[in-house]
């Protein structure tokens, strides 16, 4: 039974499930560090997925698709940034409303632009190719799982150390964290919280847009209504579980994705779908309980409504 469950394809599947979540969660992490509560990831991802497919279809090029995905993500996050930073609106209200907006707009535009309902699949849509990295991809087990993937997979994985350096070793990162912790203190030193918060929210939009592009051009090559299907919410949880640390976020996303991929496998072995569906969420809850000592600060953040 176990050889049927634990094989390279499982980790392959987990990696694919992880990447969109990871990309979006890294975006959420940047926002969290800048002191903006980002729960529009679900909607941004959906808009990114839609725009990526649209762009790829129009230009028959995944590059443009990815650019479109990023642009759409940034556009929505611009609304979030304006609302929360400039107008000091409630980020929770805005986030949920923008999720709704993305759902409505993509659903509205799909038939308007492509004359199809529900699902848009077309040979013109240029998907992200798998790029096998020479040598590395030949490593048994790890190679095919990690080093034979789409470009956005590599981007996501490289962003983990990249964002770590950015946050903890560069001036920008120091200022960003400062802004997130004490905006007034940063302001008195001439670091504009507005600029940094805008930057963080836009960056999260770009990343969640990329997450959408990976979903609709990488994981599959098509768009389906509401295809983000809760992955953005999972990313929100991953930011918290990973305590807004790049490595923590990676671990949280990986844990969730692995539990999901395992769930698919267990289903094949006869476990009811109702149980395997809940598996990743239960595993996340358990992880929260195990790691609970670390959440005292988080609790303060999330209960100051």
């Amino acid at each position: 039974m176990f050889e049927q469950i634990l094989d390279a394809a499982l980790f392959d599947s987990a990696t694919r499930a992880m990447i969109p979540i990871l990309l979006a969660a890294l975006g959420g992490m940047i926002c969290e560090r800048a002191g903006v509560f980002q729960i529009a990831l679900e909607g941004i991802m959906l808009a990114g997925a839609f725009a990526a497919v649209a762009g790829s279809y129009l230009a028959i090029s995944w590059t443009l698709g990815v650019v479109f995905g990023i642009a759409a993500g940034m556009l929505i996050s611009l609304a979030l940034a304006y609302g929360t930073v400039t107008r000091r609106g409630d980020p929770i209200v805005l986030g949920i409303a923008l999720n709704l907006l993305a759902m409505g707009l993509t659903g509205f535009l799909l038939p308007q632009l492509f004359d199809v309902r529900g699902v848009f699949q077309h040979p013109r849509i240029d998907g992200l190719d798998r790029i096998a990295i020479p040598v590395l991809s030949d490593i048994p087990w790890v190679g095919p799982v990690l080093f034979d993937n789409t470009i956005l997979t590599y981007v996501a994985l490289l962003l983990v150390p990249g964002l770590w350096v950015l946050l903890f070793r560069t001036a920008i990162g120091l200022r960003l964290r400062g802004v997130g912790e004490r905006p007034l203190a940063a302001e008195t030193l001439g670091v504009s919280p507005t600029v940094y918060k805008y930057g963080a929210v836009l960056a999260s939009g770009a990343l969640a847009g990329l997450a959408g592009a990976q979903l609709s051009l990488g994981n599959v090559v098509q768009f389906a209504e509401n295809m983000s299907s809760g992955r953005g919410w999972v990313a929100v949880v991953a930011v918290m579980l990973g305590r807004a640390h790049p490595v923590g976020v990676l671990a949280a996303a990986a844990l969730f994705a692995l539990a999901e991929a395992l769930g698919f496998r267990f289903q094949g072995n006869g476990l009811p779908v109702q149980i395997t569906d809940a598996l990743p969420f239960v595993v996340t809850l358990l992880a929260l309980i195990i790691a609970r000592k670390r959440f005292a600060r988080l609790l303060d953040l999330t209960t100051a409504a």
């Binding site: 350096v165 070793r169 560069t170 001036a171 120091l174 200022r175 964290r177 400062g178 912790e181 004490r182 007034l184 203190a185 940063a186 302001e187 008195t188 030193l189 001439g190 670091v191």
Partner: protein
């Protein structure tokens, strides 16, 4: 002559308040310039305008003779100003060095050069005698050190003019003396210091000149050497105030609060209060003196039920309240004026009346079976506002618009109204002006004279000496001395506070 800094006709209006009214201020190079005034006189506002935090409605600012217009603090920093705010503007989770170099980080290959940052901060600290560990996380540091970090921040930015807003409010005499040392050293190095305070003794001790604000206007510009506290007070208040009042004799009665072997563990598992034991009797004020960060706050929080004690027993009026929660302790007869009136004592987003109700809201007089008697609530708040002369537009308006002094009155009024056997007062007059201090002191004494027991924590040694029947000194979590205020003076208490008696004993 060219002034280092000159303000002309500065006016700033808030809705309904003229915070600064055509204020002129001239500060000479390499002088220590004190600014004094009652609460709400407009000191903080004036400094904020000077520092570019917001623009004045009218008036001009000149630096070394040149007219400047600051659109942000950044411009002020670039013009050589540095400000240590009344409430510190530090990043708790960042290190001292990171706080200091923030936005002017030394870099190497695009990354922050952390070694250089630490080295520079250490260098600077050594030069001006500011003892700090550049690598410590700010959230772990006591206030006195935080202030040094703030000063380092300004110096790191090469501030020619350093503005200190009520810097001594949180310091012990020793720390204050160290600060004065630093300030003099800065002046001798050619820098200018603007120093806001409510304490005239400090004005006399450190400043070269003093400007007095009253109701938003600059009413006097004096040379310190040519004036005296009485004159300054007259300018500030328009009347004479007698501060030098000793507590009248009074005979304490039986014990109200009994604390035995109380130990409190801090976040890191270290004991922050060690084996504390003492009594407070009715009709007495027990003052706790200590350098901030030596366990006074933790002791008080444990007594009030805000944190849990690890071991020990607490009795209130003969009842064991060791395991009771806040509500239980309040019901057993305790009222508490907390040190942090913004974060704990009041609720910013609630109205004045809602704030006055905190802790009274379950009393039979204002509610019945969970439903408020709205008339009774209104009567209660109206009475408190009147008796304590709280200056507020409307009791249903937000409490956040009150000045610091009036905010403190809300807390004092509310807690005294409980008429409990025990009143715990933590830093009851911090940051208040002379008039307000006088008022709070008289209230504490009235409370005592009516047979109440008062446990008071204060960083203000003069206050402790003036009011206390007995003084407990805390050092590193332990009560190291019980002193009689009639037989000690400030320097002596200060010695105990810094643990010097221990060193003496060893030697």
């Amino acid at each position: 002559m060219t002034f280092e800094l000159e303000l002309r006709g500065i006016t700033k209006r808030y809705p309904g308040v003229l915070a600064n009214d055509a204020v002129d201020l001239a500060v000479r190079p390499a002088e220590i310039h004190a600014i004094v005034g009652e609460n709400g006189a407009g000191k903080t506002t004036l400094m904020s305008l000077l520092y570019g935090l917001f623009p004045p409605d009218e008036g001009d600012i000149f630096i070394r003779g040149e007219r400047v217009e600051f659109s942000s603090a950044l411009d002020a920093i670039a013009a050589g100003l540095g400000m240590v705010h009344q409430s510190f503007k530090l990043f708790p989770t960042l290190s001292v060095a990171e706080n200091v170099v923030f936005r002017q980080e030394p870099r190497r290959r695009g990354l922050i050069d952390r070694v250089a940052a630490v080295a520079r901060v250490r260098d600077l600290a050594d030069r001006y005698g500011l003892a700090v560990d550049p690598e410590a996380a700010v959230e772990d540091l006591p206030v006195g050190v935080l202030q040094r970090v703030e000063i380092l921040k300004a110096l790191y930015r090469d501030a020619q003019v350093l503005i200190l807003d009520e810097p001594t409010a949180v310091l012990t005499p020793q720390e204050r003396d160290q600060l004065f040392e630093v300030i003099r050293r800065l002046r001798d190095a050619g820098r200018t210091v603007i120093f806001i305070t409510h304490k005239l003794g400090e004005v006399m001790a450190i400043s070269d000149r003093v400007t007095v604000l009253r109701n938003g206007r600059a009413v006097a510009d004096l040379v310190t050497a040519e004036t005296d506290p009485a004159e300054i007070t007259l300018h500030m208040t328009g009347r004479a105030v007698d501060l030098d009042r000793r507590a009248p004799e009074h005979q304490p009665d039986q014990a109200v609060l009994e604390v035995e072997n109380l130990t409190v563990l801090g976040g890191h598992g270290r004991a922050v209060v060690k084996d504390a034991g003492f009594q407070v009797r009715s009709g007495e004020i027990v003052g706790i003196a200590g350098v901030a960060g030596n366990g006074q706050s933790e002791l008080i929080e444990a007594l009030c039920g805000l944190t849990e004690a690890d071991t020990g027993a607490v009795m209130l009026s003969g009842r064991d309240i060791t395991t009771a929660d806040v509500a239980g302790r309040r019901a057993a007869g305790l009222a508490y004026i907390p040190e942090d009136r913004y974060g704990v004592g009041t609720i910013r987003r609630a109205s004045v009346s809602e704030n006055l109700l905190i802790g009274h809201h379950r009393e039979e007089t204002v509610q019945r079976r969970g439903w408020f008697d709205r008339g009774a609530v209104a009567r209660l708040t109206r009475r408190l506002v009147e008796v304590f002369d709280i200056k507020t537009g409307s009791v249903s308006g937000p409490v956040s618009t009150l000045s610091g002094g009036n905010l403190q009155k809300v807390v004092v009024a509310r807690e005294m109204e409980h008429r409990t056997p025990l009143l715990i007062a933590e830093q009851p007059t911090r940051g208040l002006d002379i008039g307000a201090i006088e008022f709070v002191h008289s209230q504490l004494i009235r409370y005592r004279d009516q047979g109440g027991a008062v446990l008071m924590v204060s960083a203000e040694l003069s206050e402790i000496l003036a009011l206390s029947t007995r003084i407990l000194v805390m050092f590193e979590g332990s009560i190291v001395a019980t002193l009689d205020p009639r037989t000690v003076d400030e320097p002596e208490v200060g010695l105990y506070m810094t643990g010097a008696h221990l060193e003496a004993a060893v030697a």
